[in-house]
Each structure stands twice: as structure tokens, then as C-alpha cells.
Symmetry: C2
């Protein structure tokens, strides 16, 4: 009763290389424990050197994608190239030819999942993408098969390891952003061009995928409010600490049943919140469901083997679950039309202002907030001309308007605005 499964891997860089090694080294283990005999039939990569380093035998090396999709021994195509260029062409070609696809490609799934899932459905094959979000943490499997009995009301995730590494260093060493970024780049934790991570694009893609699943609709990334960490100062982290907060770059999705809000931004959370102790390059997703309450999944969000764990788990799942081919068959929503997105969301706010004249300034500043219906919970006494305020939960636009008024009237300079979640 051992099932034979042939796999082709497109791209054997970090994740694809890890996937190849995991499949080869665990072959007998999967025969024994999963009753599947998984063989890597073909590998496609531009780099002959990389394939040699991995010890890929000559007969497994494919010259082109056609050779793979024409091969009747290939049941599952693993795409670990990344991006939306050839990766998209190859995935499309594979699905068109009835090959099930397992991918780690967040940009591809974020931007084209609906198109690709329809294609998969038409061709009676599967599309799996656990590895596209939060590395080895089985968050997609959990959303599909672990907490699917729930209306998911809220989701807060630390889904980018680079920014979490930088914020952790800033928090525990009091170091400045540019300094820590440089160090992270030297250690290979951040790219030479760090924009995708530090400006929140990576988190935004992942939030689009995860919230689409959690909320059973398509959440386009274009609807996600996004703000990165590059303007965060060590000073704000330190003031936040005094107030009992830890700073994290959070990907937040909330679904009231009527409205959905989706946003990525630096966020102060109470220091005893389970997400507050997720440090360094670790990732975590904190979910709230109407029956299950709060659930958190924690683990490595990146790296060759953790991500390979997710890819191979999908390969095994695809091989052993013939009638479930992912959200395709459950999620027929057609995006925006179904759903009302909130941009004027509710949050509490941490504000750092510089006032010209401390004595009179606070009264005038709080008068302005009061005029916009914003009440202040905490004020941290600070020497000189710095004012630190934390507001009650209020509307984003009210804060924006109040701050514009404060600037306009020269009551204070707005140094920092950081959202606070409880």
C-alpha cells in the first residue's frame, strides 16, 4: 500500500536546495511513517554548479520546463524560484498539464492565487503554499484544518524575521536603526536593498495570503495599510518600555463580520503579550477565533530547512489527501465586491511631540485632542520640551486631523506616531 510519488523541483537555491536534501535524506522515513515513496525525478536550475554541490545525479537534471511537464513520472512540481517572472510561467505550465504544484512563493500566491487556483481546479490538480508564509510554522494548515470551525475575528502576526531581528536588537541593546540594519546586512539577515523587509512589503504579501484564508475571501494586498520600521528611533522604543510596551512590526487583520481591516505597521503591545517575547528572527501568528479563543503559533519564519519542512509537508499532504486540493475548492469568493474594507480603523496611539513652550503647551495640545474627541490615557513626564502621550482607542482619521491641527497652529512638532494594540 506504499504510494509512489514523483517530484520535480524548480530552482534549488536556499529553499529548493533544502527541499531536495530533506526529500532525499528522509526518503525511507516517509515510506515507513507516511506510506509514500517520494522520488525526486527532475530538477531544473540555471546553475550547474549549485546542482553539482547538492549532488544531484545527472539523469535528474532537466534541460527545460517542457521536459518536466511532459514527464509522466512527475506528479508534483515544487516551485522554489520566487518572483512572478518565470516562476509564474512554469507554475502555469505545470497546472495546465495536470501537475499538482507546491510553492514557497509569497508574491506569486499573493498576486495570482485566484487565477492559479481556478487553473488547478480546471485541471484536477492541487495548489499548495504552506511555505509561502512564516517558513516552517504550519499556519496555513492550521487555518484550513485546525481552526476552521471558527469565525476568525482577529489575527496579529510577526511574519518578517529581518525586521523582528532589527527591533529586538534595538529593544535590548538600545541601538539605533541604521546601526542595527548595517549589522544585520553584514550578518546576512538583511538584504543589501532592505526595502522589501523594512518597509513592510514582505509582511503585506503574507498578510494578504493569511487573511484571505482566515476570512474566507480574497484580500488584495492593495487594500492593506502599510508602514515600515525605518523611521523608528531607539528613543521611542525606550519611552514605550517605560510605559510597559514592546515594539513589533505587526501584520494585523480584523474581521467584524461586516467589515475587514488589514494593516502592517510598527505596533506597541503590552510587554506580557505572548507576541512581545517573540524575539530575534523568530516569527509568530496570534489568532482569535469565536470558539477557540486565542491561539498562537511560533517558529522559524525563514531559512533553508524550516521552509523545506513546510514544502515537504505539503508534498506529503498532496500525496496522501487525494480529495483536498486547497482553498480552491472551499473559497469561491471574488474579492473586493464581497467585502467592506475599513481604512479609518480604530486604535490607541503613542505620540511623541516636541513643544516650544512646555508650560502652556500641554493644555493647548490636550484641548485640541479633546476637540477631536480623543482622550489621553497616559502622559509620561519628561524633561524639557518632549511630550509623550498615549490615547484611548480612537479613529485613525481623528488622530490625523488633530495632529494636523496641532502642527498648523504651531503648538508642537510631531516626532512620532505609533499605534498601540492591547
Amino acid at each position: 500500500m506504499i504510494k509512489k510519488v514523483g517530484v520535480a523541483i524548480l530552482g534549488v537555491g536556499v529553499v529548493g536546495g533544502g527541499t531536495y536534501q530533506t526529500l532525499v535524506q528522509h526518503h525511507d522515513f516517509y515510506v515507513k511513517t507516511q506510506q509514500v515513496d517520494i522520488t525526486v525525478e527532475k530538477v531544473l536550475d540555471r546553475s550547474v554548479e549549485r546542482m553539482a554541490q547538492l549532488g544531484i545525479p545527472q539523469e535528474c537534471i532537466a534541460g527545460n520546463i517542457e521536459e518536466i511537464i511532459a514527464n509522466p513520472n512527475v506528479d508534483i512540481v515544487v516551485e522554489t524560484i520566487g518572483g512572478i517572472g518565470v516562476a509564474k510561467d512554469f507554475v502555469t505550465a505545470a497546472l495546465r498539464n495536470g501537475k499538482t504544484v507546491v510553492t514557497s512563493n509569497k508574491e506569486l500566491i499573493c498576486k495570482f492565487s485566484h487565477e492559479l487556483e481556478k487553473l488547478a481546479k480546471r485541471n484536477h490538480c492541487g495548489l499548495y503554499y504552506e511555505a509561502s508564509c512564516v517558513g516552517g510554522v504550519p499556519i496555513i494548515r492550521t487555518l484550513l484544518d485546525g481552526v476552521q470551525a471558527n469565525h476568525i475575528q482577529s489575527m496579529m502576526g510577526i511574519v518578517n524575521g529581518t525586521t523582528n531581528y532589527i527591533l529586538t536588537k534595538m529593544t535590548y541593546e538600545g541601538a539605533d536603526y541604521t546601526e542595527v540594519l548595517k549589522e544585520a546586512q553584514k550578518l546576512g539577515y538583511a538584504e543589501a536593498n532592505p526595502t522589501a523587509d523594512v518597509d513592510g512589503y514582505d509582511s503585506m504579501y503574507k498578510l494578504s495570503i493569511l487573511s484571505s484564508m482566515a476570512f474566507h475571501t480574497k484580500i488584495p494586498y492593495t487594500k492593506i495599510f502599510r508602514e515600515g520600521i525605518s523611521s523608528i528611533s531607539a528613543k521611542d522604543i525606550a519611552y514605550g518600555k517605560e510605559l510597559g510596551y514592546t515594539l513589533k512590526l505587526l501584520a494585523i487583520g480584523k474581521n467584524s463580520g461586516k467589515e475587514v481591516e488589514v494593516r502592517v505597521h510598527p505596533t506597541f503591545i503590552p510587554k506580557d503579550h505572548p507576541l512581545a517575547s517573540v524575539n530575534d528572527s523568530f516569527n509568530a501568528v496570534y489568532l482569535t477565533g469565536d470558539a477557540v479563543g486565542d491561539v498562537m503559533l511560533y517558529g522559524r519564519g525563514a531559512g533553508a530547512l524550516p521552509t523545506a519542512s513546510a514544502v515537504v509537508s505539503d508534498v506529503i499532504y498532496a500525496a496522501t489527501h487525494s480529495d483536498v486540493k486547497y482553498s480552491t475548492f472551499k473559497n469561491n469568493a471574488t474579492a473586493e465586491a464581497d467585502i467592506k474594507f475599513v481604512s479609518n480603523f480604530e486604535s490607541a496611539y503613542y505620540l511623541r511631540l516636541t513643544v516650544a513652550d512646555r508650560a502652556g503647551a500641554f493644555a493647548k495640545v490636550s484641548g485640541t485632542f479633546a476637540k477631536y474627541g480623543i482622550s489621553i490615557v497616559k502622559v509620561t513626564a519628561e524633561e524639557g520640551t518632549t511630550l509623550i502621550l498615549v490615547t484611548h482607542t480612537t479613529k485613525e482619521n481623528a488622530v490625523k486631523n488633530a495632529l494636523a491641527k496641532i502642527s498648523e497652529n504651531n503648538l508642537a512638532t510631531i516626532e512620532s506616531v505609533i499605534r498601540v494594540e492591547q
Copy 2:
């Protein structure tokens, strides 16, 4: 393409009642998002009052189990009675008649899973038991379909809410065990007879189930080393804190590939370990896999709705995955014969001793440890006659023998022995 599924619920106490409510209230939600139309066809319970309170319609009330297993509209039988009396008889009858069973019954699964799974297999039906361990946290789904690509090397879990509540109170309020236990009983967090929880039996059952899945064999509960929390004093928790440790009742499973060790006991862990901040009645399982590295799942381990979330997720899974009926078909191991259990395991140890004569005692005590090959990492200076020691990693038996020798020679009184994990 909506699939019709009929469910019978046996026992509508806390978990069964929550399951009934969840299924009824989410009926349309599951039609829309899961393409399944789940109807509660029958309910069986001794208490007419309880069924009335839940608003169960008269035509759904069954008079006996025969009525349920003979009903062709019942596809899935949910067992939420508990124990191994009628629950076992009813589950056996259901499986024999080809009904798929979903159960929250840890004792039943711990003691009879192999027998019941064979029965399920023979009758082409499924046996699902996510709700038997750690309430709403999808740990079984994760082991089966999320991290199945990995050799699981280690598992450490806080899997009992009552003891975690008690230890949290003792840690943060410095309160004594008996005092906190009484309070917990008053609040309904602990039973009048608290043995199952505080002596670690509940954790032991769960560890048997979870480690059997993680290690792909049957781990009988009789092989599990078990020690409860009733002899823990507030003093030891306070000394541990000074040393940077937090005390938790852990269920620990380790698999070296050659040997398996399974144990439940109070454990000091470093205060920055992710498990250390799992407080109150929350539960968590921390896994280490050879590819994925460290993964933690956190959430509510008990309660009507969190546990119902797990039961209903299993019902939906059973209804939508026709070819996967749980570990039955993957895990053919036949227990003890396959596996070598370690009882003389390795650990570090926290020791509290009372010495008669402080001046000479330490030299003699450490001399004895040295004779047994045990080295001491830390000694906390303490007024008077108390000695606090932490050992390097060593063998359980070496510590036992050294302590016996110390007692025998009247060098010190052994007040506490607490294992330490890193």
C-alpha cells in the same frame, strides 16, 4: 457540491454541550466556507434537563445507543462522555457499525487507541481525537499534517491548565501550594479531588497520545515517569527565580532515534524560554524537528468552546477528507517491542538541602557529588543552613545515588529535587 453530514453527540456536558452549540450556530457558516451541511441528527444524554437547557428538539433526543448506530443518517458519532466505561462501549459499537468517531476522551485514546483504530480500519471508518489533547490547540493536526516531514526529536508541553494556574499563582504571588489549590477549587479551576491534575495523570495521558504520534509508535502511559506538583514549595519557586528559572509542570518526550524517554514532572526552565511565559490556564507544546527547528503552539487547553473548536474541526475534517482517517493508516507500530525506553534519563538538577553544620558541609556534599561524577554549576549563597545547588547535565540515577549517600552519611537533609531543562 454541498456534502450532507449527520452527527450524533453522546454526552452533552461541558464539551458536548459546547459542540452542540457550535454546530448549530455555525451551520450556515460551514455550508458557505467548508461546503458541508452538518446536521445534529441525534443526542444521547442521561440528563433530560441538560438537553432542555441546550434547546435540543425532542425529535433529536435518542433513547439509547442502538437507535443511533442503526440510524442511516448518522455518519459521525461525537463521543464527549469521558472515561472508559460506557464511552468505550459506545465508541466500539459505533465503529463496529461503520460510523466515524470523533472523541475528546484522552483516557480512552491513551489506553485503547490501537484497539479502536484497528476496529475503525476494519470497518472503513475514521477515528479522530484532536480534542483529547490541549483543547483548542491544533497540536494533533500539526503533528499529522504540519510537521510530518520531520523527525521530531523533542517535545515539551504545558498540557494541564489546573497545574499551570496553580504554579503561575505561586510564582507571581509567592503563595503556598495548599492555599492556591484551595482557591483554585473555589473558582472551579481544580476538582474537589485534584489528584488527576496535580499528580500529573492528566498530563501523562496526553503525553502518551502526543508522543505516540510524534514518534510514530505506541508510547504506553505505563512507560511514562510521573511526578506531580503537590510537594512544590513557594520557597523553591523563589530560589529558582533568583537563578533565572521559571517552574512549570512539563510533559517531556525525547527521541534520539535509538531511545525514547517520556516523563512528566515539575521542571525549571530559563525565564526567557517561550514556555516560561505561558501563564494561568493556558497550555502550549514546544516541538523540535530536524528540519523545522523549534515550533510552539499556544492556546486554551480546556473549556467548553475551545474544546468544541477541536471537536468540530475534526468533524469537518472527517467530512471533507474521505481518504484520511487518522493515524490508523500511517502508524502500524505495535508498542513496546519496537522501542527502547530510557528510565535513567539525563537532566540538570536543582537541589535544596539543609545542612547541620554549614562550614564543613558544603565540602563534604560536593565531595559526594564528585564521587558520583556530578559537577555543580551554581551554588546560591543562603543564610543559615540552606544549600541551593544546580548540577550540570547528569544521569537521573547518579543523582539519586549521590543523594542517598548524602542522607545515609547524615551530611544533609534533602528538601527538594527539581529537574532543569534548557
